[in-house]
Amino acid sequence: MSTFVQVLLDGLLAGMLYALVAAGLSLIWGVMDVINFAHGEFLMVAMYLSYWLGFLAHIDPIISWVASGAFVFILGALTYRFIVSRCIGKAAMAPLLATFGLSMFLKNFCLNRFSPNFRILQTTLLEGRKFILGDIVIGLPQLVTGLFSLAILFTLYYLMKKTRLGWAIQATAMDSEAAELMGINTDRIYLLVFGLGGACVGIAGGLLTSYLAVHPEVGALFGLIAFLIVAMGGFGSIPGALAAAIIIGLVEALAGFYIAPVFKYVAVFAIYLVLIMARPKGLFGW
């Protein structure tokens, strides 16, 4: 029984982390209809920043996530201004290919500058701390990341649903020309959305360094899982992303433990396929 609870908890916490990674992608995809192929690499860049801040300046990830979030916000905004905005209105594949190029550039840049070495922060405030309740162990870094994820997703949801800025973002997503007629500077909204999407994944990356090694390839699988989550949850839907992420986390953990670890991604992709066939617009899709 306690093993079951432990597996569930592990899945839940992994899912919450995935949700934070996916939220930014979902936002960008939902508002702009653009797939940011460099999303996983944004995560990697945030992790490197957090790592170097921890390693050189001894700033703990629990504080430096602010810097990671801000840095990737700017990275996202620049990506929009100099890459994506030039592709919009051209062929549908153009932004995809352009951000794919960006992802290769970022990966190879980090490979070149920082070498492919695996780097881990050795002593962080959270590292190795855990709650032990009987047989159940909850790692503090995972828990904190999970709670952060919930808090940020909630903030994002509130922003989108309850503020004029959020309505303006939604309006831009639904009909950018009509939004323009309301006096909404849609170009500015896109810039902001790309930045916000970056900030979410930046914060996730910043916190991840508490327990995960950084290397140039670290973003690849996270990026892929984020795509699944966004497609499963419904493009642009924050609650959808959270629900889909938790489903993926749980499926991964349960299949990994009760069937076979090597089966876990098989199960994840199978669930994805089934869900997408049953509901092509995703769980919370429009």
Binding site: V7, N112, F118, V137, A213, V262
Partner: protein, 419 residues
């Protein structure tokens, strides 16, 4: 418009910078050797070190190094002045890329030999290419036993195989049960779901079963995972006394960290040639890496004691990558040395003659543990040995065989909460 032009020129420049590795000026009388390793992808660190090791050997062979006491150091080049030119290529750790790059090296670059390719899964298709073209393939550290079970004529491998390592692991566990009352009865395996991992695990299971141990956990995982929770949870639930691990690079650190988070450890962990042997990873894991064990063909500690001639060569290597040789990379340097020695002895570049020399000669190899290299059937180095070490604060301390042992191994491993 002008801005666009500047931008595209700059990006082109950046790309050419990224792609410029491996372009060396051509000289007269050169022997082109393909050096095929994973330079990008999850095993890039290891691959780049392997390349640096081959470069180190080439430098020693090509230039006069009277201060070094290793074969071919005192002369310039081989066959009276032929210099070795390395053509570096990237497998990305992928079998298909390895195959196509091997074809390119053989057909377009016209290399004489390929040295590579770290991942067994990459060495396998790449060496099939050379075999068909009757070119030599010198394999340093790929450890899948299957590679030398193919009866290839032109394939030679230096490192011990998973099979020999597995036998040694089991032997050591029996020794521990006898001498340190370790009481190990059950064994678990965790390995990446690849050519290398699966073969290592198969050999491990076979060896353990033959000796009467019970296999209670058999955990394969996909490399490059975002977490290893289910994997460690499975191990924890089955609670084996000893675990054989085959986790490379980042997966190794994630595995160790996840065990720590889940507050579980077996009594003994023995690692195949993996993340354990990487000194950088040992350094990064710091105290968390302590008491893990694994097969080691080289470490500076072992070198200082049993392979005294390595240190001077190692200096050249360390200048390139910032760390000393490790069990894997040093084998790649040996691969080039042995090839050069064989060519020198054959007195010509005739592949058949050189292969004949490789098959029949016992070579002096100061960079190999034991000091000798001799190839048996299938091209396996019969003199390859490794010793089992335990990590103590970043140092690989030999614990087995008893003749090499420097400390008594900490068995069972100290639990996380008592560290």
């Amino acid at each position: 418009m002008q801005k666009h032009k500047v931008l595209s020129v700059v990006s082109l420049l950046v790309f050419s910078l990224l792609l410029s590795a491996g372009c060396a000026p051509a000289a007269e009388n050169v022997l082109k050797i393909g050096v095929l390793f994973p330079l990008t992808g999850p095993c890039a660190t290891a691959g780049q070190r392997c390349v640096a090791a081959v470069e180190t050997a080439a430098e020693v062979i090509n230039n006069k190094h009277p201060e070094l006491d290793v074969p071919l150091a005192k002369q310039q080049g081989i066959l009276k002045g032929t210099k070795i030119q390395l053509i570096v290529a990237d497998t990305q750790g992928k079998p298909d890329v390895a195959k196509s790059e091997a074809e390119r090296l053989v057909n377009q670059e016209g290399v004489y030999t390929i040295i590579g390719s770290y991942n067994s899964s990459a060495s396998k298709p790449a060496s099939a290419v050379t075999e068909r073209s009757k070119k030599l393939f010198m394999c340093g550290c790929s450890s899948s036993a299957a590679l030398t079970d193919r009866d290839f004529k032109y394939f030679y491998r230096l490192a011990p195989t998973d099979k020999t390592e597995s036998k040694e692991f089991v032997e050591y566990i029996e020794w521990l049960n006898k001498n340190q009352k370790a009481g190990i009865k059950t064994i678990g395996l965790i390995y990446e779901n690849t050519e290398f991992g699966k073969h290592a695990a198969d050999e491990g299971k076979a060896a353990a079963k033959a000796a009467g141990f019970e296999i209670v956990a058999d955990v394969a995982f996909n490399p490059g995972a975002t977490n290893l929770n289910s994997e460690v949870q499975t191990l924890k639930a089955k609670n084996p006394d000893a675990v054989f691990g085959a986790c490379l690079g980042g997966d190794y650190t994630l595995w160790v960290r996840t065990m720590k988070q889940m507050n579980w450890l077996p009594n003994v962990v023995l690692n195949y040639c993996t993340g354990y042997q990487d000194p950088k990873i040992a350094q990064q894991l710091a105290a968390d890496g302590n008491f893990f064990m694994g097969g080691t063909g080289y470490s500076p500690e072992i070198g200082a004691k049993y392979m005294k001639k390595v240190a001077a060569v190692e200096k050249i290597y360390t200048k390139k990558v910032g760390v000393p040789f490790d069990s894997d990379s040093i084998q790649e340097a040996v691969a080039l040395f042995i090839l050069a020695q064989a060519i020198e002895k054959a007195g010509s570049l005739d592949v058949e003659k050189v292969a004949e020399v490789l098959r029949t000669t016992t070579f002096d190899s100061p960079l190999s543990l034991g000091g000798k290299v001799a190839f048996g059937p299938g091209g396996q180095n019969m003199k390859a040995t490794s010793i089992i070490t335990q990590l103590h604060n970043g140092k690989y301390m030999p614990v087995y065989p008893a003749s090499y042992a420097e400390i008594k191994a900490t068995v069972p491993m100290t639990p996380w909460d008592k560290r």
